[in-house]
């Protein structure tokens, strides 16, 4: 006979299918019968089986006792068969699960304190994670609202020499990339540039996006109203068309439909509105743009100002695009070595580029809340271990009654999952309650796109569920591995208050150490941030920020190029503002302190060379008007500030202390002079005054050398200026009048909204403040959890040691000695934890400088404070159990044994 598979294959296949269907039918029936009570039926059937068998046996000549016994043996045990039938009837796993859930719920209800503490602990841990995840989800994970967003890339220029990895590109470079990179379906570029928009009484500076052809097409967005730019329009700025953002359309045009075709005046020209973008489209992270204008081509390869984005071709990979761009940039560098020698390109997904610097912060927060959850897990594992010691008797009893250890493990696992899920629910509630405050806090201080879309959506729900189960896995595994090996079967011993198996005790101690260490890491992080924040707060900025109002303005080209016109304008404007009631003094400055802007220039000192033999020294240059130092209350330490007399005669500069100290350490700088040299001609400037140092760029670090030029003399082109006015009344009340006075001098000069310098100073520490606040909250949570954990362990240990302590006391031990005995154990664990934590902090602390450049990681004083704080809290947490130990009544304790 041949084993031809085709011979019987068809009937066999159908038979297999049939038997599968039969199997399915059996399962469905079994599932349906999970809850039914057919046990009585089986019992009756077996009863009748036995009766018949016994009858037969008696007929065969046995005594009735023998007959019954024989029949039972033959059957193989009544209850065993019943159990087998029950398993065949129902689905054991499901049945066990229901049983376990019922039993678990009963056990958890029986120990409400334990359950509450565990659920709250897990709720806090999971809630912190759910809250941060919901932000990350909205900001980073949710697809961008553009067509096929996964293919959208951001292309940074890089500079090998300076190490800058996210630089802007020049127009010709962008054009070459666009023409040659085959991985990209399309490429476009844009730049952020504030433009002036006339509002009637003045010209307001509004953030705008200037875009190349194909910008909207690359993103795959269309105008909600009207149209985006045509390709001809984008090439040529002279076409004077503009597309409004939804925000601008609603704020300034009341969302009216007849806005198309209207004109807005900007930069002394009128622009025709051709379209309005949809509300969701707000591209810029740093300041939400108000309008879109075409970008003018700049042919210089030296001028980097473009941010480039591209859409990958269908199926093209990011790595391929990156490799391709590397080849292209190398070729460009060979052709134009002067401008492009070190210029490369880096492709990153658009979504991560848009989030910008807040990304690091978010990732740090994700790490921080993960640590908090780990602490919570350690805590819960610890509490469960303590409780399981009390439950040993029950578990031993169940093992003796026939429960397999697998079955007991299943039971305990079910309890873990129940606790974790309850914790997850609490966490979800906490997260959704705190979500709006968290989002408001972040949105106020960071420019994070899409953060407003943070909600508890199904991804957050899924994440929380998965996290809860993972959490159960973690603390269940720790708990389980510590209990495994404990012999549940030893019914006789388990009932007694033993000191607990040494394995479990070691685990409990290790958990306390781990918790403490994790808390140290978080507290040290928060401490370092707090320390830097306090340092920044207490740093005197070098000027008096209160009662000063600032207005930023942007000089149009015509004023930039014509000195007398500019000076006349400055004089008129400054005198108009100074005459306002409530204004004490007024000044003009190019780079307002603390907004981060500075201009570093080279200068010469006649007759001197730099230490390395160069001709040019470098310092930050700023341009100010007479009256600026008085207005800012920057002390003049030698000489004088600019005055009207400087408008004629020898050009002059004022320097700050650091400049004086650095460049003229052993002579009076007042008789020195410097030379500015732009390659075509040189100007000699006499130092007429030395003023106090100002924190020009930021509140941390050492002040840089600053040299001030007089705005009323020829200066390098500085189109951005700020008017500062010291007021005798609350400065914000003068915002409108100052704005109008500045505008009155020339309504065509665009000006920005006013700010008080107190606001400027606040903004300069806003982000460190938020990080400190958030990290502080989470570190506080960690500390509280660690304290609870320590308390739990100490309380348990004391309970276990009561007999021993009783003996000590009965033998005449001092109660204080007993107190010390317990505290010593706690302190030992915490000290080990602190040491481990500090060791872990040292390498991890570097990440803090990415949040706050001012942070001094591993500042010994901060770490010492953190250690002392933790030890204090630990002592408090263990004091209560220790006191209980010292108050043990020896007679009671001994009777317990």
């Amino acid at each position: 006979m041949s084993l031809n598979p085709s011979a019987g294959s068809s009937p066999r296949a159908s038979r297999h299918r049939r038997s599968r269907i039969r199997g399915l039918r059996a399962w469905v029936l079994r599932a349906l019968r999970v809850f039914s009570r057919e046990r009585a039926d089986t019992a009756a059937e077996l009863e009748s089986h036995l009766a018949m068998h016994i009858e037969d046996n008696i007929r065969a000549g046995m005594t009735s006792a023998q007959a019954r016994r024989h029949a039972l043996v033959k059957l193989g045990g009544l209850s065993q068969v019943e159990e087998q039938c029950r398993e065949q009837r129902g689905i054991p796993i499901v049945e066990h699960l229901i049983q376990d859930v019922r039993f678990g719920a009963r056990m958890l209800r029986k120990t409400p304190t334990f359950t509450t503490v565990v659920v709250l602990t897990l709720g806090l841990g999971i809630g912190a994670n759910a809250a941060i995840f919901s932000v990350v989800n909205a900001v980073l994970l949710r697809p961008l609202p553009f067509h096929d967003p996964d293919r959208l890339m951001w292309i940074w220029a890089t500079n090998e020499r300076s190490g800058v990895r996210d630089d802007v590109a020049s127009y010709p470079d962008f054009e070459d990339w666009r023409a040659q990179a085959a991985s990209f379906e399309s490429m476009a570029a844009f730049t952020w540039r504030d433009v002036g928009v006339s509002t009637g009484d003045h010209t307001e500076l509004v953030p705008a996006l200037q875009v190349t052809p194909g910008f909207f097409e690359t993103l795959g967005v269309q105008a909600a109203l009207g149209r985006v730019f045509g390709s001809g329009e984008t090439e040529d700025a002279a076409s004077h068309v503009v597309v409004l953002s939804d925000r601008m359309w609603k704020a300034r045009f009341g969302g009216r439909g007849d806005v198309l075709g209207q004109t807005i005046r900007s930069n002394e020209a009128s622009y025709t509105i051709v379209g309005v973008m949809p509300a969701y489209f707000a591209f810029s992270a740093d300041h939400p743009e108000q309008l879109y204008t075409p970008l003018v081509r700049d042919p210089s390869r030296n001028h980097g100002f473009l941010r480039v984005l591209g859409r990958l071709r269908e199926g093209a990979r990011m790595s391929t695009a990156q490799a391709e761009l590397e080849v292209i940039t190398r070729a460009i560098a060979q052709r134009f070595p002067k401008s492009n020698k070190n210029v490369g390109a880096r492709v990153v997904p658009l979504v991560s580029a848009l989030v910008g610097s807040a990304r690091t912060g978010l990732f740090v927060l994700v790490g921080v809340v993960a640590l908090v959850l780990l602490i919570a897990c350690a805590n819960v594992a610890n509490l469960m271990l303590a409780r399981s010691a009390f439950r040993e008797k029950e578990l031993a009893m169940r093992a003796a009654l026939g429960a397999s250890s697998w079955r007991l493990f299943q039971q305990l696992g079910t309890e873990c999952v129940m606790l974790a899920l309850a914790g997850g629910i609490v966490g979800l509630l906490l997260s959704s309650w705190t979500q709006s405050s968290l989002v408001a806090l972040l949105a106020r201080n960071f420019h994070i796109p899409r953060i407003a879309g943070t909600t508890t959506d199904r991804w957050v729900l899924g994440f929380t569920l998965a996290l809860s189960i993972a959490t159960a896995g973690i603390f269940g595994a720790v708990f389980g591995s510590a209990s495994i090996g404990r012999n549940f079967g030893r019914l006789g011993e388990a009932g007694r208050a033993t000191v607990g198996s040494s394995g479990a005790r070691r685990t409990r101690n290790a958990l306390v150490v781990v918790e403490t260490a994790l808390a140290v890491v978080l507290l040290a992080g928060a401490g370092v941030l707090l320390q830097s924040l306090l340092a920044m707060r207490s740093t005197h900025p070098g000027f008096e920020p209160d009662h000063v109002l600032a207005v930023r303005l942007f000089l149009p080209d015509i004023k930039m190029t014509n000195n007398p016109v500019r000076w006349t304008y400055f004089e008129q404007m400054l005198s108009a503002v100074s005459k306002l009631p409530g204004v004490a003094s007024v000044g003009l400055v190019a780079n307002l302190p603390l907004i981060g802007a500075y201009d570093r220039l080279g200068f010469r000192i006649p007759g001197r060379l730099t230490p390395d033999g160069g001709r040019f020294f470098r310092a930050n240059f700023n341009v100010v008007s007479p009256g600026y130092f008085r207005t800012m209350a920057i002390p003049v330490q030698a000489g004088r500030e600019f005055d009207a007399s400087d408008s004629a005669g020898i050009p002059s500069v004022v320097i700050n202390e650091t400049t004086a100290r650095k460049f003229w350490p052993d002579m009076d700088p007042l008789h020195a002079s410097i030379v500015l040299d732009d390659g075509r001609r040189e100007v000699q400037l006499a130092v007429v005054g030395v003023v106090g140092d100002v924190r020009q760029t930021e509140l941390w670090g050492q002040p840089a050398p600053e040299i001030y030029l007089n705005v009323m003399r020829p200066t390098p082109p500085w189109p951005w200026l700020s008017v500062v006015a010291r007021t005798s009344v609350e400065p914000s009340t003068l915002a409108r009048t100052v704005t109008l006075a500045v505008a009155a001098a020339d309504p065509d000069v665009p000006i920005s909204a006013t700010k008080t310098l107190d606001e400027v100073r606040g903004e300069s520490v806003a982000q460190p403040r938020v990080y400190t606040l958030l990290l502080g909250v989470f570190a506080g949570l960690a500390l509280a959890l660690a304290a609870v954990g320590l308390y739990g362990v100490m309380a348990y240990t004391v309970t276990q040691r009561i007999p021993e302590i009783g003996i000590r006391l009965a033998l005449g031990a001092d109660r204080r000695a007993v107190l010390g005995l317990v505290l010593k154990q706690a302190v030992f664990l915490v000290v080990v934890g602190v040491v481990v934590g500090l060791a872990a902090t040292v390498p991890a602390a570097g990440v803090l400088t990415s949040l706050t450049p001012a942070a001094r990681p591993n500042d010994p004083a901060t770490l010492a404070c953190v250690s002392v704080l933790l030890l204090t809290v630990a002592l408090l947490a263990s004091y209560l159990p220790a006191r209980r130990a010292s108050r043990v009544d020896p007679t009671v304790a001994l009777r317990q044994e």
Partner: protein, 114 residues
């Protein structure tokens, strides 16, 4: 491990149950057990208990049905009988069994190669 062995055992036992019911007509568990013991020797000698889960399974699969009735000795007992599906299943299984045993026999018979 336990599972697989039980499956093999249950498969064999199921076939014997079906065959018994075909031969004897409706029969209670005890009767089936005695019959299988008599015909198969010691397969069921150890315990009758394993029969009942097998009966349950066959019933769930729809090959047999059960109803309470009265035995020869006037005892209440649960009687099992073959369904149509059961008959067909018996036929198929028996064929399959024959074929399998034939193949196995060929393999195990020494000196003969195909």
């Amino acid at each position: 491990m336990k599972e697989q062995k039980a499956d093999v055992w249950q498969g064999t036992l199921a076939l014997m149950v079906l065959k018994t019911l075909e031969t004897l007509g409706p029969m209670h568990g005890y009767g089936i057990a005695r019959r299988i013991e008599q015909t198969s020797g010691d397969v069921l000698a150890v315990n009758y208990g394993t029969l009942y889960p097998a009966l349950l399974k066959l019933e769930q699969e729809g090959y047999i049905r059960s109803e309470w009735g009265v035995s020869d000795n006037n005892r209440k007992a649960k009687f099992y009988s073959l369904t149509r599906a059961g008959r067909k299943q018996l036929e198929n299984e028996a064929k399959e069994w024959e074929r399998t045993t034939e193949i196995i026999a060929r393999f195990l018979t020494p000196g003969e190669s195909s």
